[in-house]
């Protein structure tokens, strides 16, 4: 029943998270419904009646309560150790080999997502905060650097191929943001001064969104980027178009 409320899932790892989430909600439902039935019966059965006195001891069998607490404790620990920890390790701490993956640098700023692809050479050009120019070069990419010649940068346009791991190096120029791809079940804070790797793999093509999940100032609500998933072929086409465009603007330099 919960699936209905979740955004679509188009990632390889999202299913695990969804299953955990759904099963947890079943556990919660059982506890709540069980509790509420007991509660309502108690309220009706033991409402104050003429000539009836309360029972000093109440329920005598303390074992039931102890057993209940123990069962819940065990179930919670099972969810923790058997599901949550392994899923977490798998989703956030198991990285593909860079050569097998599409590497992307994502640099958040108030209030946009700067996307940086290495281009055909697979090497990111150097960047330098001093070169930053908000309109022309928000990343401060050093165009003189040989590796930078074929680099592709976009604002708010993240394109990835499906069925291939994506390895994101997440950072931020100013304050804390949080890189959230609801359809991929991915969320990672971008912390100033740190570069944090994030990985995921898409399974379906389509057009989706990047949201910012951490309050980052007055434009937090409109810090929405576009997230497009392509087949490998379409992606390659898109990429070569971008590389051409980057080179063209470069020669104007």
């Amino acid at each position: 029943m919960l699936e209905k409320y979740l955004p679509v899932n188009i990632s390889t790892h999202g299913g695990e998270i969804d299953t955990l989430l759904i099963n947890l909600h079943y556990l919660m439902l059982v506890l709540f419904v069980g509790g509420i039935i007991f509660y309502l019966i108690a309220l009706v059965k033991f409402r104050q009646k003429e000539g009836c006195k309360a029972n000093y001891t109440g329920i005598k069998n303390t074992k039931i309560a102890v057993a209940l607490a123990l069962v819940v404790a065990v179930v919670e620990l099972v969810f923790d150790v058997m599901y949550s920890v392994p899923i977490w390790a798998n989703v956030t701490a198991t990285f593909p080999e860079p050569k097998d993956a599409l590497e992307v640098r994502i640099i958040a700023q108030q209030f946009a997502w700067n996307i940086h692809y290495a281009g055909p050479d697979g090497k990111f050009g150097k960047t330098d905060p001093k070169l930053i120019d908000e309109t022309d070069n928000p990343l401060g990419l050093d165009r003189e650097d040989a590796n930078a010649k074929d680099d592709v940068t976009t604002v708010n346009q993240l394109h990835v191929p499906i069925n291939k791991p994506v390895l994101v190096y997440l950072s931020t120029k100013d304050v804390i943001h949080s890189f959230s791809l609801p359809v991929m079940r991915v969320k990672q804070d971008a912390i100033p001064g740190m570069i944090i790797p994030v990985t995921f793999q898409a399974t379906k093509t389509g057009e989706y969104q990047i949201a910012c999940a951490q309050l980052c100032g007055l434009g937090h609500y409109r810090m929405v980027g576009f997230f497009t998933t392509h087949t490998q072929e379409d992606f390659d086409n898109w990429m070569s178009g971008q590389v051409e465009a980057a080179k063209a603007s470069d020669s104007e330099w």
Binding site: P7, H25, A73, G217
Partner: protein
């Protein structure tokens, strides 16, 4: 009767006190408790008002606010349309005011101050002057917080969590917020030292720890949390003040570029340091919000089921355990910051462990109903509603507490729903219950039951109307602190209609408070006069002193205690309650 009048004269040293000494700079814990109570209720109402204004923007993004737009300056609401900066200020101040100026002062400052001494048979708090100081420091802190709204750039707007670097580069309001916090922290420290010493030192003869009403236990554990958890936030506040005023960079690494300008700071700081210090306070703080509430609920349930609390000892031990554990779960607010698997696993395990004592407390309270003879008066209705409402809030803490399931939920409305279920229909309901229950103690008059029941039923319906949809909105992936309530999110389009539902419920909840406010003030003059022990209760505040209590030393004669706190319906007794001071 004769004996009492004689005694009254003996204890009552006859020196007339001026009005100011008696009601303004009073050292009597009862007066201070009332001062705390009134101030906190006003702040609570104010914090709620901020939210009712915000909810307009969430329901109808970008539309001018009707009726009240002329109250605001052009810099916050040009043409009646709220600016994003102002939205953020309202959100940050709502959180701050509700937590630090509303609920804690009401639960600890007012209820704790007024009730702890008379429940343990003490003539006053251990340090009356400190007590007065703590109220006035709180008052100043509150004023400082409000001043924030009038400085250029408006009040603090970086959330109640004030994460740097955002808060470091924020407008002056943030500095004012930090100064306000320093006052509030100081006040809490003074208050908590006082409560702990009072409970440990001034218990009446025969009142051993295991005979304390659970309310007193709640206050004791709460005070320890305040005492030990607040100083790290004070440290964090000092560091942030240094960053903002002295140009240090404790929370800023080098090379930050804000709006195209490289920040001229020495760098070398760590934004996560703030988060660790903040949550080291703020997680224990959430138990500060709930333990006094549980204390109130326990008193009212025992009294109105007319039987002892089931599992008193396990409730007490759970509360103590909760207190200890609350210091080692703080980083469950930081799973998504990238702390690594080992640290996350540690904190999610402690988080699962800390949910167990809460479950034990809640289950024991529920089992206490079994076999009772339940009276459904207004305080009891609020207390009964607390149980399932806290249940929902607590249960939704579990998916947040596991790091893997927290990935989709972190910083969404699901979190907002989780904790509001605990603090609003949980703590706020408990506080309402407490007000209805102890009102006769304080004023000697009972509140009106009919108005009370109207207040209860409408509040219950509308408060669920606000907070239940938040889970759905959160599951759909809508971030919190969004000025447009998610309107720019493609994945949120299907559930946007809920924003309006929540807002309308919030305004109706506001209307539902009118019977309460009327009741609160009218009953002071028109309420039915009551006897000393209005609810036929067993604890000392009801059984051993008139209502309202004797002005100077609380008791005509300091009582002696012979039994546990909840001796209701003792087999073989003619009445269904046996007060603690009955030999």
């Amino acid at each position: 009767m004769d004996a009492t009048t004689v005694n009254l004269h003996k204890t009552h040293d006859h020196h007339e006190e001026s009005f100011i000494r008696k009601y303004v700079f009073s050292v009597d814990h009862k007066v201070i408790g009332i001062q705390y109570g009134i101030t906190a209720l006003i702040f609570l109402f104010f914090g709620f008002t901020l939210m009712m204004i915000m909810r307009w923007q969430l329901a109808y993004p970008g539309e001018p606010i009707p009726f009240i737009s002329s109250w605001f300056s052009e810099t916050s609401m040009p043409g009646g349309i709220m600016l994003p900066e102002f939205y953020n200020s309202l959100g940050a101040m709502h959180g701050t005011i509700m937590v630090f100026l509303g609920v804690v002062p009401l639960a600890v400052g007012a209820f704790g101050n007024y009730l702890v001494p008379i429940q343990i048979g003490a003539p006053d708090m251990a340090f009356p002057k400190l007590n007065m100081a703590s109220y006035w420091v709180y008052f100043i802190g509150g004023i400082v917080m409000l001043v924030g709204f009038f400085v250029p750039g408006g009040a603090a707007n970086s959330g109640w969590t004030a994460y740097p670097p955002l808060s470091n580069i924020a407008t002056t309001g943030q500095t004012v917020w930090l100064f306000g916090m320093v006052f509030l922290i100081t006040s809490s420290l003074l208050g908590s030292v006082n409560i702990i010493v009072t409970i440990i030192q001034l218990r009446a003869e025969g009142l051993s720890f295991m005979r304390l009403p659970f309310f007193v236990w709640g206050q004791l554990v709460t005070s320890f949390l305040l005492l030990l958890a607040f100083p790290p936030l004070e440290a964090a506040g000092v560091l942030q003040l240094m960053d903002r005023l002295a140009g240090t960079s404790f929370f800023m690494p080098s090379g930050l570029v804000v709006s195209g300008q490289v920040l001229e700071v020495s760098g070398g700081g760590s934004p996560l340091l703030w988060q660790h210090l903040f949550w080291f306070l703020a997680h224990p703080e959430v138990y500060v919000l709930i333990l006094p509430a549980m204390g109130i609920i326990a008193e009212i349930i025992a009294n109105n089921t007319r039987k002892p609390l089931w599992g008193y000892k396990s409730i007490v031990y759970s509360a103590i355990f909760l207190g200890f554990m609350s210091f080692i779960v703080w980083a469950h607010h930081m799973y998504i910051t990238g702390m690594g698997t080992t640290i996350n696993s540690f904190f999610q395990t402690t988080t699962m462990i800390i949910s167990i004592p809460s479950i034990i407390i809640l289950t024991s309270l529920m089992i206490s109903l079994w076999g009772g003879s339940i009276r459904f008066n207004t305080p009891m209705l609020f207390a009964l509603a607390f149980l399932p409402m806290f249940g929902i809030g607590g249960l939704t803490g579990l998916p947040l507490g596991l790091s893997a399931s927290d990935i989709p939920l972190h910083d969404t409305y699901y979190v907002i729903g989780h904790f509001h279920y605990i603090v609003a229909p949980g703590t706020i309901f408990a506080l309402f219950a407490g007000i209805y229950y102890w009102y006769p103690k304080v004023t000697g008059r009972a509140m009106n039951e009919f108005l009370g029941k109207i207040h209860f039923w409408f509040s219950l319906i509308f408060i669920n109307g606000i907070f239940f949809p938040m889970f759905i909105v959160g599951l759909a992936g809508v971030s919190r602190r969004l000025y447009d309530g998610g309107a720019s999110y493609a994945h949120a389009q299907d559930i946007l209609y809920l924003n309006e539902l929540m807002s309308v419920s919030a305004w109706l909840l506001g209307l539902a408070q009118i019977p309460f406010i009327i009741n609160f003030f009218m009953s002071m003059f028109n309420g039915k006069k009551t006897e000393a022990n209005h609810w036929q209760a067993t604890t000392l505040e009801w059984a051993a002193t008139p209502s309202p209590p004797v002005p100077h030393a609380n008791f005509i004669e300091i009582p002696k205690v012979y039994r546990g706190p909840y001796e209701y319906s003792v087999p073989g007794h003619s009445t269904d309650f046996t007060p603690q001071n009955q030999a």
